[in-house]
């Protein structure tokens, strides 16, 4: 496949970025999107005609198997590109056509400043987690696995919430840059289980306060996050978070 890439280039957080166009040839339709960018970078570094190596495009990635949440990229107007419930590392070039122009942008949100090119700083998510996304437990031996019985449906729902990989696609795709889906999944995964129930009021308070403080937008329930989330985290978790928060505030 021969493609034209329109890639966002930005020197550092303070620099003003701009789009750069690149032509790339002979990409296998079976290669992943990130492999295609690897090929682009190779081309930039080893340009036969130009003896001076060009700066490769910086982008986030780690596991490349859809579990770590590191890869990002807003591709042709959609978070993680044109496929359902996948991360960018799981996106394949067969989703594009020969001769296509592909626009590649970083996540754009107040809470996610660009570090360089396509890399963004997602520490805001860590800060939200640090503010309450945990349970306080005594140290010592791990308790017996079946000491606390948990209903199958509850366990399933908590596991669904826990499948959030913190990628930030929800924020990136939201017209308000709201982090509600992420926060909701992190609140739900604990609030649904007996271990997390005790601190759920405190947790909802702290995490919402942090989320507001870090400059994320207000959720208007457009539902775009749920569609673009690679893990299919449900909006139900946002309803639960709202419930937790309202209960925490209105029922002292």
């Amino acid at each position: 496949m021969d493609l034209t890439l329109k890639v966002w280039r930005q020197e550092n957080a303070k620099a003003k970025g701009k789009f750069e166009k690149y032509q790339i040839k002979n990409i296998s339709p079976d290669s992943s999107f990130l492999e295609m960018i690897d090929a682009l970078n190779e081309q930039l570094i080893q340009d036969d005609k130009d003896p001076v190596a060009k700066e490769p495009v910086a982008f986030d990635h780690d596991c490349r198997e859809g579990i770590c949440g590191m890869c990002s990229l807003y591709i042709n107007g959609r978070a993680h590109g044109p496929d359902e419930e996948i991360t960018t590392c799981q996106l394949h070039m067969r989703k594009f056509k020969d001769g296509d122009t592909i626009v590649i942008e970083p996540w754009r949100a107040n809470g996610f400043p660009v570090i360089k090119d396509l890399m963004v700083d997602r520490q805001a998510f860590d800060k939200i987690l640090q503010s309450g996304g945990f349970i306080s437990a005594n140290t010592g031996n791990a308790p017996d696995a079946n000491a606390i019985p948990i209903g199958k449906d509850k366990a399933e729902e908590a596991m669904d919430a826990a499948s959030c990989i913190g990628c930030g696609a929800c924020v990136a795709t939201c017209k308000n840059s709201s982090a509600m889906l992420f926060v909701a999944s992190k609140v739900s995964q604990l609030a649904l289980l007996p271990q997390g129930k005790h601190e759920s009021v405190k947790r909802a308070h702290a995490m919402i306060a942090k989320m507001d403080e870090l400059g994320f937008g207000h959720c208007t329930n457009t539902g775009a996050c749920e569609v673009e989330c690679p893990k299919g985290i449900s909006l139900d978790h946002i309803a639960r978070l709202n419930r937790e928060f309202l209960a925490a505030n209105l029922m002292p």
């Binding site: 959609r78 942008e105 308000n176 840059s177 207000h218 329930n221 539902g223 946002i238 309202l246 505030n249």
Partner: protein
């Protein structure tokens, strides 16, 4: 409490409550208006309008309604202004149509259209009935019941653009409501897989009934006058 009202969810909480309250008002309003369709002598509608204008309970509800509107508009502005700041550098290419409905992304604009319509509407009827009066209202007064029917129908019959304005206002309202019903309950925490489906269906019915109903009345009055 203050901290709660300053939080994102707190503001949205007031947004949904005031919105749901305004929705109940719309339903009552539509039922009363529909009397125009059922009785072309206007007596039924005039009775209803008279009842609404004089009933003490309505007198109490009126300021509450005004507060509902003010809260809803105030928080809409606050929330929208903040949301305008959350993406300083925009995307070059964005395909949101794939993941969310047009209504849900344009609630503020739809709200503005509805508000503009509301101002016109209040100036047309409510203001005259309540404060300034109008000679049409005095026509054939029976037992102190003003002829609101004549005022309303004359307006629609005389001016096409008023009818068109009302139809546009109704459509904008319908689109606004289409997103709002489930969204309000979601914000209140009242939603899950099952209820989301139910509430979106209810939203569809409510928006069609309300938009269709409010649009039908001026059209009906105008068209039946031409027959």
């Amino acid at each position: 409490m203050l901290k709660f009202l300053n939080s994102s969810i707190g503001k949205k909480f007031l947004m949904s409550l005031s919105g749901l309250f305004l929705l109940t008002f719309l339903l009552v309003h539509l039922i009363l208006n529909s009397f125009i369709l059922f009785d072309s002598s206007g007596a039924l509608f005039n009775q209803a309008a008279h009842f609404m204008a004089t009933n003490p309970i309505i007198k109490v509800v009126e300021p509450v309604l005004a507060i509902g509107f003010i809260l809803h508009i105030f928080y809409a502005i606050i929330l929208t202004l903040h949301n305008l700041t959350t993406r300083p550098v925009g995307y070059d290419k964005q395909k949101l149509g794939h993941s969310s409905s047009w209504s849900s992304r344009n609630m503020f604009i739809l709200g503005l259209v509805v508000l503009t319509f509301l101002v016109i509407h209040v100036a047309n009827f409510f203001w005259k009935i309540k404060f300034t009066g109008d000679e049409l209202l005095e026509h054939g007064v029976v037992d102190g019941v003003e002829n609101a029917y004549l005022l309303v129908t004359t307006f629609f019959i005389d001016w096409w653009w008023i009818v068109i304005t009302y139809v546009i206002g109704s459509i904008a309202l319908g689109l606004h409501l289409f997103h709002s019903v489930w969204s309000a309950f979601q914000t209140l925490g009242f939603s899950n897989q099952l209820w989301r489906r139910r509430l979106t269906l209810i939203a569809l019915v409510v928006s069609i009934v309300i938009a269709g109903g409010f649009a039908l009345i001026p059209l009906w009055v105008k068209i039946s006058s031409m027959l």
